[in-house]
Amino acid sequence: MLHIKCPYCGMRSQNEFSYGGDASVKRPELNKEISDEEWDNFVYNRKSLRGKHLELWQHLSGCRQWIKVERDTATHEIFNTYKADEEIS
């Protein structure tokens, strides 16, 4: 079982969270002409990295905040967790 450190609540079990997918995906800017390809990349196409992966989780059965988690998709090691709006250097 994963243990995820919620930036608001601290270390909690995976059972309290739900997964939200790749956090590096950016929605195309509003009010800008965008191509089908850009839209495709936002909606469907994913890198699905093996190794370090930045992803969204929601602390659904806790504070209900969305957070970002940096996790290894092969070993499940969690390197760091961030608030959803936190800039990651």
Partner: protein, 418 residues
């Protein structure tokens, strides 16, 4: 190649079965091939077999990182069915059912195909209506489907929970009598043996490290055992698709997720069908050894781990016990996991790509095993003729941008919600 027959069995008995031919050779890679198939799983082996058999292309190599049949073809729950509603999936799978029925004879290898029937349980009136619709769609496509009411289901699987006060009472179910199971390893080995006998090189322990692409054309691949020249490359690598796509600078509508399965200790025959739970995601059958073979949901987050997490297993088995309470008495024998190429609409991709000579076969989600023969057959056609067959025309890569998704079960784009 030595034919497997009763006479050869008797003949070899006299020499203590020590003189059987090897089922396939262990060649070193040649400098050049007409076609290179990456991935020695069920789909890759089947593709090579049909390339040789249907298209007379025998200068073919299968490049496998580990050993053949060591990935998902050796890790699945062996269910074979074609109970799909949409034409693309239905016609493709039903074509596959026909290949399954002939497979043991065709490959001279007993794949133990057992058409025991699959029952999808319904737990509400709405679900019965949905199944009636699905069943009608199947019958219009020539697939056998029978809508069963509660009593008819009870006659077939009396061990399920038919008590009155359960959370998900059984209202009935949809049965495809011709669906079933097969011995998964035998499928890989049977295809490998026949492909090898027709001249295909099965190269194991050989990892693909890169591709030679110039001016939008594929010229070869780089591997841990040297460079190989070829004009045509077929990717059949399931959960590793994204890893190789990255080397080609492609991003695909695929995410790699982990799916678990498990078997109980062997017990005496109790269940002679494949049964799925309709109020969640759980499926069960009984193997010839007597083990109850079970599976269900994805672990729920991107994973290449090839082994699962307990919360999902607990969730899946809770559904199983709700459906068949006797399961709670059984001990678990083994659990395992495999990495799935989950496409964004739940349907596969068998198509050409923007790179000339590069062909893609991926996105099999939960249902790769049953598709093995049809996938190999259509992929071989696509590679040999450099155009898709009408059976896989719908499984295009660009359907996501054109909007022609094949959304069979409402799983949609969020694979982790399934």
């Amino acid at each position: 190649m030595q034919k497997y027959s009763i006479f050869n069995l008797v003949k070899n008995a006299f020499s203590n079965h020590e003189n059987w031919d090897l089922a396939w050779k262990d060649p070193t890679p040649k400098e050049e091939y007409d076609v290179v198939i990456i991935g020695g799983g069920g789909h890759g082996l089947a593709t090579a077999y049909y390339l040789a058999k249907e298209h007379n292309i025998t200068k073919v190599a299968i490049i496998e990182k580990g050993w053949i049949g060591g990935g998902n073809v050796g890790r699945n729950t062996t269910i074979i069915r074609s109970n799909y509603m949409h034409d693309e999936n239905a016609l493709f799978s039903e074509f596959g059912m026909d290949l399954w029925r002939k497979m043991s004879q065709d490959l001279n290898y007993n794949v133990m195909f057992s058409p025991r029937g699959i029952i999808n349980l319904a737990h509400s009136d709405a679900q019965m209506n949905a199944y009636a619709r699905r069943g009608n769609s199947m019958r219009l496509n020539g697939i056998d489907a029978v809508l069963l009411n509660r009593e008819q289901v009870r006659e077939i699987i009396p061990m399920a929970d038919f008590s009155e006060n359960v959370r998900f009472p059984i209202f009935g179910g949809l049965m495809q009598p011709s669906a079933g199971t097969a011995r998964h390893d035998a499928v890989a080995w049977g295809y490998a043996r026949q492909a090898d006998s027709m001249g295909v090189d099965i190269i194991q322990n050989c990892e693909v490290t890169g591709f030679d692409v110039t001016a939008g054309k594929i010229n070869g691949i780089r591997t841990s055992r040297g460079n190989i020249k070829t004009k045509k490359v077929g990717l059949c690598v399931a959960g590793s698709t994204n890893i190789l796509a990255e080397k080609l600078n492609m991003t695909l509508p695929i995410e790699t997720h982990l799916l678990q399965a498990c078997v109980s200790e062997p017990v005496k025959p109790i269940l002679d069908r494949v049964v799925t739970f309709g109020a969640g995601h759980f499926y069960i059958s009984q193997s010839d050894k007597g083990e109850m073979v079970m599976g269900g949901d994805l672990d729920g987050y991107n994973s290449y781990a090839q082994r699962g997490n307990l919360p999902t297993l607990q969730h899946v088995l809770t559904e199983g016990i709700a459906m068949m309470p006797f399961l709670s008495k059984l001990k678990m024998l083994r659990t395992w996991g495999g990495i799935m190429d989950m496409s964004m609409d739940g349907s596969p991709i068998i198509d050409k790509t923007h790179i000339d000579g590069l062909y893609l076969n991926c996105g099999w989600c939960y249902g790769g095993f049953k598709a093995t023969p049809a996938s190999g057959w259509t992929f071989a056609h696509t590679i040999a003729q450099d155009r898709v067959h009408e059976l896989n025309a719908g499984f295009s890569l660009n359907r996501f941008s054109t909007g022609h998704l094949i959304d069979e079960k409402g799983l949609g784009t969020k694979t982790w919600i399934s």
